[in-house]
């Protein structure tokens, strides 16, 4: 872009959001060029710059977002939406330059509505802040992912996030009532006033998970819940994962725990041993049940009876409570997987009749094709019909050259995710697609991909919103 045109566009953006909220500072461009995607981290670790935006804008509301998108459409400049930057799939990286639209000035909490049990807030609100607002009134959001402290409401919605008590309270797409969205042409729309209706397809679900490719979420109503009277933990040890799946499936036909996490033998013997202190060999499973105390007591009885049938060793409440206390500690520097290691979370989801097979297929594919890689997994979000797999590969000595490392990284990802797809899984469970997995979307969806492509073409004919993400 020539200097003259650059300056013209800059002044238009400044006019749209205010001079102080439109930046070309080096620090702003740098900090919006690296998200939690391993490859972006690797590149800057090696002293290589990631693709940077030309402009970083921070609009305060949907009207200002609309103005920015109209400018971007006119000049045909890419717009990448940035919330907390905590995504692991490179979804927030401005790979084509242009504009990064940071949502965090849209962080107002408009209403803590205890009549209808939701909080209406700007999509740039940090989720921890809406949790605080709920807590101040004696309620809770029940959305507790490891990124609670750092990610935004819009970020969780855009990538279909999930928290650790999802089995009882649901995924982020279960927690939203209504949203305000700015379309690529600048039109501001609202989804239906309530989510459960027969007025056509659910507009919420078109934009949830669209990763900023179809519109920009600017406001949302997120559900809040009563704080449980009681939350009880119980740890179990299974000698084989097959019985753990059978026990989990049977339990879910009877009651809904909040936390339900099964760790394979490798992860039990490494991370769980280190953080929670489980020394015994086997597959550790942590269950929490919560709600009204009398019901919790009954559910605990059902839990113990059900798991005893499948030979689970009851480890009592200590490990589960320790896990709850440390549930975020896993993600701090020093405990989290970090450079110089190469690593990735290839989470997938499937019905019970396929999930175990997917686990073994992914494990075998990664370990046999890449002997330098370790494979660990847990199953942390369960439904009456199936569960997700949170599996990770770790390479302790990746190539020093960033491009060589990128090549190996992509090969392992292709191998692992294709093994999941071939055995009935999906591309991803709750981290999204971003630039990392876009190519594999077409492999999963086949001709169904044209539905997404049709939406994209109609809503964003100039392809300005988050290009090369989501396979679009």
């Amino acid at each position: 872009m020539n200097k003259f045109l650059f300056s013209m566009i800059l002044t238009e953006l400044e006019d749209a959001v205010g001079i102080e909220n439109c930046s070309t500072r080096a620090i702003d461009k740098l900090t919006h060029s690296v998200d939690y995607f391993w490859l972006s981290r690797l590149f800057v670790d090696r002293g290589e710059k990631m693709p940077e935006a030309d402009f970083v804008v921070s609009p305060k509301d949907a009207k200002e977002v609309s103005k920015v998108l109209k400018i971007a459409n006119y000049y045909k400049i890419p717009v990448t939406t940035w919330g907390g930057g905590g995504g692991t799939q490179g979804g927030a990286i401005p790979v084509c330059g242009g504009i990064v639209l940071d949502t965090k000035r849209m962080n107002q909490i408009f209403d803590v509505n205890t009549d209808s049990m939701y909080i209406e807030c700007g999509a740039g609100s940090i989720y921890k802040h809406i949790e605080n607002a709920a807590n101040e009134k004696g309620y809770a959001t029940m959305h507790y992912p490891s990124s609670l402290n750092c990610s935004t409401v819009g970020g969780f919605l855009a990538h279909r996030g999930i928290g650790v008590v999802s089995t009882k309270y649901g995924k982020i797409d279960d927690m939203v009532l209504q949203m305000e969205v700015v379309l690529p042409n600048g039109d501001i729309i609202e989804t239906s006033p309530a989510p459960k209706h027969a007025a056509g397809p659910d507009l919420n679900q078109i934009f949830i998970g669209s990763e900023g490719t179809l519109g920009i979420i600017t406001k949302a109503q997120m559900r809040i819940y009563n704080q449980p009277e009681e939350r009880r933990f119980r740890g179990f040890l299974f000698q084989d994962m097959h019985n753990a799946f059978l026990a989990g499936k049977e339990l879910l036909q009877k009651i809904k725990p909040s936390v339900m996490r099964l760790y394979d033998e490798t992860e039990t013997g490494s991370i769980i041993k280190k953080i929670v202190g489980v020394e015994k060999k086997g597959a550790f499973m942590n269950i929490a049940i919560e709600g009204i105390a009398e019901i919790v007591a009954i559910e605990e009885k059902i839990l113990l009876e059900t798991f005893a049938k499948y030979g689970a060793e009851d480890l009592g409440s200590e490990y589960g409570e320790k896990w709850w206390k440390e549930k975020i500690t896993f993600f701090y520097p020093g405990h989290a997987l970090d450079l110089p290691w190469m690593f990735g979370t290839m989470d997938s989801i499937a019905p019970f009749d396929k999930i175990e097979q997917i686990y073994w297929a992914m494990k075998n594919a990664v370990e046999s094709n890449f002997p330098m890689a370790r494979f660990i997994a847990h199953f942390s979000h369960w439904y009456e019909w199936g569960a997700m797999i949170y599996d990770r590969f770790i390479v302790e000595e990746p190539p020093q050259d960033p491009v060589e490392a990128l090549r190996l990284h992509q090969q392992i990802w292709n191998c692992g995710v294709r093994a999941a797809l071939e055995n009935g899984g999906v591309v991803n469970d709750h981290h999204g697609v971003g630039i990392k997995l876009g190519r594999l979307m077409k492999e999963q969806y086949g001709p169904a991909m044209q539905v997404f492509e049709g939406l994209k073409k109609q809503l964003d004919p100039n392809n300005i919103l988050n290009p090369f993400k989501l396979g679009l």
């Binding site: 740098l30 670790d45 002293g47 402290n149 500690t329 405990h335």
Partner: protein, 363 residues
């Protein structure tokens, strides 16, 4: 750029970690990604790798209030303040400080305070002049109180007088070094300022530090840098609580409901949260904000208000919003930074007083 090994490790730990984002009062108020410990670390990591010059990052370094919220929040004990203060020192050595910081340091050299003020307000001058000069206890007001919150400084003097404390305030009170430490990190000039301060205070038995930033310097930085300060250092809140406990001050309990704004340096650096609540509970009752005690959110920073006033106004507005959300009606401060910031954006129907004013009203 010559970061210490510890700083380098901290930079590399923090550059990809967002776990303290929610707690940064500046970032929360401005909504700017650069106002996070992670962003500062990422910028400095590129400087450490020789990819960027310090000039590209240094203005952002000065957007940190050193309030310690991120340090307190880190479950694996990384301390972003470490590399932030080192970066300031390095910038000073390299002649890369922002112009507005250089200007404030020149003010300190010229007038002894960062604001370039040469005269105290008349009331404070008279109040100090009325005190004896040969007491064993000195009330150390600090530059912020002397030049930015004169009324509260006078109230602090009045309160100690009413308690019958024999004390003085130095007419030529030196700097504790806080302002230079904030602006230039651990420079030699900071050390010399601290040494000069220690020399002027060592003739006293007790130093009552009105500003928790000064108390923090006396209790932490002086010790860390081996600068001998023989006098016993008490915070103003600690000293006042003792006066109440010993019956030298006898406030009457009122129907007032106070919400205390814990100063960050008092609550986190000095781990003092109880005395202020003892004082306020003697005067009325207290209602807590969600983020209180060691989890407090900073409401203001007078030095930063000199070069980023709009951002600091947003910080104060946000803290008022948090107070209002829990129904607070009287917000009580215990440091000049918070008071000055909150005063400028006080919402209608809310009241702001300093802790000494709260006690004086109940005597």
């Amino acid at each position: 750029m010559h970061f210490t090994e510890k700083s380098r490790k901290t930079i590399d730990a923090c550059r990809f970690c967002w776990m303290c984002r929610h707690i940064c009062p500046i970032g929360n108020a401005t909504g700017m990604e650069r106002n996070t410990a992670r962003a500062r670390a990422l910028g400095l990591s590129m400087v450490a790798r020789g990819v960027e010059e310090i000039g590209a990052s240094i203005a952002n370094v000065y957007e940190c209030a050193l309030c310690g919220a991120c340090t307190k929040e880190c479950l694996t004990a990384w301390d972003p303040i470490l590399f932030t203060t080192e970066a300031k020192l390095e910038a000073a050595m390299a002649g890369e400080m922002p112009e507005y910081i250089v200007s404030m340091i020149e003010n300190i050299e010229r007038t002894g305070n960062a604001y370039g003020k040469t005269e105290l307000c008349t009331r404070l001058s008279e109040s100090i002049a009325s005190l004896p000069t040969d007491a064993e206890t000195v009330l150390f007001l600090g530059k912020n109180a002397m030049y930015r919150t004169c009324r509260q400084a006078c109230a602090a003097i009045e309160l100690l007088k009413k308690a019958g404390v024999s004390f003085t305030v130095l007419t030529d009170e030196p700097s504790s070094g806080w302002d230079l430490f904030f602006l230039a990190g651990g420079a030699e000039e900071t050390r010399q300022t601290m040494k000069a301060c220690a020399a002027s205070l060592n003739s006293f038995k007790t130093v009552v530090a009105y500003d928790p930033n000064d108390a923090r310097m006396f209790r932490r930085q002086f010790k860390e840098w081996g600068i001998g300060l023989n006098a016993e250092v008490k915070t103003f809140t600690e000293f006042t609580a003792e006066l109440i406990a010993s019956g030298k001050l006898t406030p009457k309990k009122s129907a007032s409901v106070f919400t205390f704004q814990d100063p960050a340096s008092l609550a986190r650096d000095l781990e003092e949260t109880v005395p202020a609540r003892e004082i306020l509970n003697a005067c009325g009752t207290t209602l807590e904000m969600l983020m209180n005690g060691r989890d407090t959110n900073l409401a203001g920073n007078l030095l930063m208000a000199e070069y980023m006033p709009e951002a600091m106004t947003k910080v104060a507005v946000r803290r008022w919003e948090e107070a209002q959300r829990i129904g607070a009606s009287i917000l009580v401060t215990a440091n000049p930074d918070d008071y000055a910031a909150l005063e400028t954006v006080k919402p209608e129907g809310c009241r702001l007083i300093s802790i000494e004013e709260a006690v004086l009203e109940c005597l």
